[in-house]
Amino acid sequence: MKTFRADLHVHTCLSPCADILMSPRRIADAAKSLSLDLLGVCDHNAADNAGAVAEAAARFGIRALPGMEVTSREEVHVLALFDEIESALRLQELVQPVLAGENQPEIFGLQVVADAEDEVLGFCPKLLAGAASLSLAEVVEAIHDLGGLAVAAHADREGFGLLGHLGFIPEDLPLDALEISPRLSRAEGRRLFGPKRPLVASSDAHFLGDIGRSSTTFWLEAGTAAEIGLAFRGFGERRILE
């Protein structure tokens, strides 16, 4: 068992609102210089760059978990985290057909698909800034069906957060954890959400300089989504340290 410092919510240049410099190699370099052990690659409603970040990060022995930040019908953001890129891409296949509209880069921003060498492969044409016509419960179920973890993104935030949009956390929604945004300390998050659900802190980085500005340290057997899921449930000695 060892400690893993994780920033589980990092965007890439695929997200229209993220900086163009959020390319796979640069993200991996930033993670390396910050001594992060684990990343979660969570672009809005897309996973095309997750594999490239994983490949770039792997050169430094850093694991980048493929994921997604899905926008539900209620316009609540949910993070999906997987161990396999195929699972993230399958989620993308479920989400993107029910995502209305085409991106207009001059309004929303470029949606760059890049490889692990930061070469531009193309542009995603879907309106990734939009919402999927799946309910929050359907999004969580889809993530679980694919073997992933479902985490309410920046649950404390008004914009696109669970608390802001839905007023309170639905009791029977089987979320694996709640993410608190960098503006809250862990203690403040605990006060806000109570003791029931695991809390993670992450950066929601849209710019290179934001990576790691908030992170979660785990005590795990290995740096995988499956191990993080076990830590959420306090399995064995696995746990969230801070």
């Binding site: 209620e74 309910s135 008004e158 608390l163 802001g164 949009h165 839905l166 007023g167 309170f168 639905p170």
Partner: protein
């Protein structure tokens, strides 16, 4: 104005009828952020929204709102409908927008 009269004034469809149509409506509140509704809606307001998640029923109950008005022809999620039935929260519907419905109500309550 009672909820029954208000439903007539705005020609609303009744989506979930269990509840009190004789309640005297105190005004309206328009918002899709449930946290905002919890903070700002007043007792016996009608709540105009496009949000369809089941939490709408709980928030309406908590704030003792007169009814929920779903706009743009939206239908509540199944869980929302069930919860509203249990909690006796009336849900009304309209093909009109939030702007249009709010405008008519505003003019009415301003008098």
């Amino acid at each position: 104005m009672t909820l029954k009269e208000l439903a007539g004034l705005l020609t609303l469809n009744v989506i979930q009828p269990q509840g009190n149509f004789d309640v005297v409506v105190t005004g309206g509140y328009t918002s899709d952020l449930l946290s905002d509704v919890m903070g700002n809606a007043k007792e016996r307001n009608v709540w105009i929204t496009c949000q369809t998640h089941e939490n709408i029923a709980a928030v309406a109950k908590l704030k003792n709102l007169a009814a929920i008005i779903l706009v743009n022809g939206r239908k509540p999620d199944e869980a929302a409908l069930k919860k509203a039935r249990e909690e006796k929260v009336v849900i009304l519907g309209t093909p009109e927008s939030e702007f249009a419905i709010s405008g008519v109500l505003y003019n009415h309550f301003k008098k």
